[in-house]
């Protein structure tokens, strides 16, 4: 197992190097001159040149690249110009916010989608199958920012049930001391239950928004793969042997139907990290998605590079995790490395 993990990690190195080079070149190829942007609305040509020199953008590309990789080797991702903070520190502070939201969204989505998919598969053509079809179609066809805005309009503006969409905590609470960076966990560790409630209530709408969006692929995949498994010989045999329907579905069919669902989950998770960008914008969520987009708009190279690199590392780890999970669920696909 360990050698397998080690080998997989080794394979990831070339792709990470590729990502570093490509993002570096891509950000430099972006239209726009960060020096002109940051010189402000009233700058002269000399002022712009001064700033370009200060930022090191007057050097040849290769020199900039060597400096960048050198810094990277020391764990220094550079400094964002828009927020004025070191990129590594900001990503570290913001990643938990995105991760907490995405994970909660995914959990909500799994809790709804998998039972829905299983039920739809066991009773094809019934009302529950139609319900599954309608929810999933609606879920994918509504863009996330739209769902988000509608939810805010309904539950905050009209009904007043949800708290103001002002980020992770109500304005008048202070954040708990950072242990994991996940407010739901940190507030509990700090035994600050009022803040826990606040953090949870702030999370509900954005998490539901993400869940609605990600319901579709999970539910559809569960349904399809359950249908295939339920029609297979070993299920027929199990049924013929007189096993209870519950046992047949849960123990025999569901476990075998899990593999494609897990694959979908990993895809959905990476999908959600992307969809996060818009949800974070709508809910003023201080995550990495909104950070990257703002940086991109300002041609702020360092955060964009840092973001892409973080994402690449996360994908590598995610894929590794999925591969390990495969082995746990189905010993037949245990990888040889």
């Amino acid at each position: 197992m360990l050698t397998m993990i080690g080998k997989r990690l080794l394979f990831a190195i070339p792709s990470l190097i590729g990502v570093v080079i490509v993002t570096f070149l891509l950000t430099r190829a972006l239209p726009g001159d960060p020096a002109a942007y940051f010189a402000g609305p009233a700058a002269t040509k000399e002022a712009v040149d001064q700033i370009r020199k200060k930022l090191g953008f007057d050097k040849p590309l290769i020199e900039q690249f060597v400096r960048y990789t050198g810094d990277l080797a020391h764990g220094d991702l550079g400094t964002s110009l828009t927020t004025g903070q070191p990129v590594a520190a900001e990503l570290r502070n913001r990643l938990p916010a995105s991760a907490e939201l995405t994970l909660l969204g995914l959990v909500v989505s799994i809790v709804i989608a998998i039972p829905l998919g299983v039920l739809a598969a066991t009773r094809p053509g019934s009302w529950i199958d139609h319900l599954c079809r309608v929810t999933t179609t609606a879920g994918v066809s509504l863009p996330v920012f739209f769902t988000g805005l509608v939810l805010v309009y309904l539950f905050y503006f009209r009904l007043g049930w949800a708290p103001a969409p002002l980020g992770r905590l109500d304005v008048f609470y202070s954040a708990p001391p950072t242990v994991t960076g996940f407010y739901l966990i940190d507030t509990l560790i700090a035994r600050d239950f009022e803040a826990f409630r606040s953090a949870l209530s702030q999370l509900i709408l954005p998490a539901v928004t993400l869940a609605i969006f990600s319901l579709a692929p999970i539910a559809r995949m569960t349904r399809a793969s359950m249908l295939a498994v339920l029609a297979s010989d070993f299920v027929r045999t199990a049924r013929a042997s007189g096993l209870s329907p519950g046992k047949v579905i849960v123990t025999y069919a569901f476990r075998n139907a899990m593999l494609p669902v897990i694959t979908t989950l990993s895809m959905v998770f990476s999908f959600l990290l992307g969809a996060n960008v818009l949800v974070e914008k709508v809910f003023a969520w201080p995550g990495i998605g909104s950070y990257a987009v703002e940086a991109l708009i300002a041609s702020d190279f360092a955060p964009v590079q840092g973001f892409v690199l973080t994402m690449a590392v996360m994908y590598v780890l995610l894929n590794l995790l999925i591969d390990i999970l495969y082995g746990v669920i189905d010993p037949r696909v245990r990888l040889e490395g």
Partner: protein, 540 residues
Amino acid sequence: MKRRDFLKSVSGLAAGAVAPTAPAIWSPAKADARSETLLIVSEGGPNNLDIHGVGTNVPGYEVSWNCYDRLISHEMKSGPGGVPYYDRDKFKPELAEDFNIGDMSVTFKLRKNAKFHDGTPVTAKDVKWSLDRAVSVGGFPTFQMSAGSLTKPEQFVVVDDHTVRVDFLRKDKLTIPDLAVIVPCVVNSELVKKNASEKDPWGLEFTKQQTAGSGAYKVTKWTAGTEVVMERNDDWVSGPMPKIKRVIWRMVPQAGNRRALLERGDADISYELPFKDFQEMKTNGKLNVVSLPFSNGIQYIGMNVTKPPFDNPRVRQAMAYAMPYQKIMDAVLFGLANPMFGAAKDRPTEVAWPQPTKYFTDMEKAKALLAEAGYANGFETTISFDLNFAGVNEPLCVLVQESLAQLGIKTTINKVPGANWRTELTKKEMPLFTNVFSGWLDYPEYFFYWCYHGNNSIFNTMSYKSPEMDKLIDGARIAAANGDTAAYDADVKGFVDLAFADIPRIPLYQPFVNVAMQKNISGYQYWFHRRLDYRAMAKG
């Protein structure tokens, strides 16, 4: 202790212990905090807390304005709609308790009891160090200082511990106003020097992250892109004690949500909302909406005069008659702007800026002028705009495109991303574009110096060059410095007339700054920088 009292105290203790788990209705302490706190929501936040920093953005100016003191500031006067508006011509002491303007210098007496946030007294050497810093760091602050002929550290002289003299390089009417803008703020020199390095002699890295001033507020927490928390400095002496104890400024990127927050009463104040929202909030009357014209600001259509067809003044005049002025006012701005067109034929030119042109929408006249210029069948061109302000620029350009189509002019719309806009402007290659210019210093010759002078600054986006224009602009600057009113008036009228006859840029309207706030918020003041001054505001 009696048994009853004992029971009471025990149950009190128990209640105290349980309180955190009880449903979170605002605890009284929190309700208090709410009434003394101003909650601002806006789209963007600062990227640097120091205006002297590299690339400090406009929200950063607001922090600097409220957390640092300057030697002098402006008095208030009653502006449009009775809203307090800064008085361009009247100055009041801020960190200085008194100042004395001489022929070639100005002397400031500092307040003796003024202290920085860390408790060290403000002295003349701090003032000198700060002004030296402003003229030396380069970039925007140095440029802004030079606009008032403040360029050399030698100009700032320490007379004694509490007296500073600023020597004039030359006579310039803009020197005193330039000492009252945001840039010449006074920084705690000892504290910053301690945190400076060889690579960073002015300690810009230090002041980027924290405020080191003597102002009415200090930043206690700043999470870039998320929130800024400022607390009142209770030892502030440079003005009356502000009423707001704490300012929480949250970044809410979604305009719709900012409006919802305001209408639900959760946020106290916001700007940067679409015009339509402001107009609707104005009519439904639940909130106070203040709309005031940008001082010395104009949105215009610019034409590159170095290339055909816009090198021909007739074509430019035809364009000026083809603009759908009123449609832009109604459909794009919802009436929230001052028209800069359609002045009566016999209206004399004023010694003021901005003022409306005599152009109005007249397609027949435009056609005739175009035919005279030899473009009876029109031509093809591209109109560019800055996507950062797409809310206004996009519909505006579509209307212009539609209108020009009636003259046979085929216009393609070119949307330029915000990061790229400045680069495009500097290149001066766009044939047709819309943009806004507004100057901090509210003087016609200041505006014209940047926008029409042949020295071709970045804001002369049309590359317009005319020796006659240069003569008038330079003349006005000299006349202003010497106090020669008659010559000044003649020159100002002269350059305004010339700008309208040659029409390298077509003024459309004077934009409004719109601020929406709860009814219980008072004390909003309009400043040349168009950001909030918390010191005058009150809640309740």
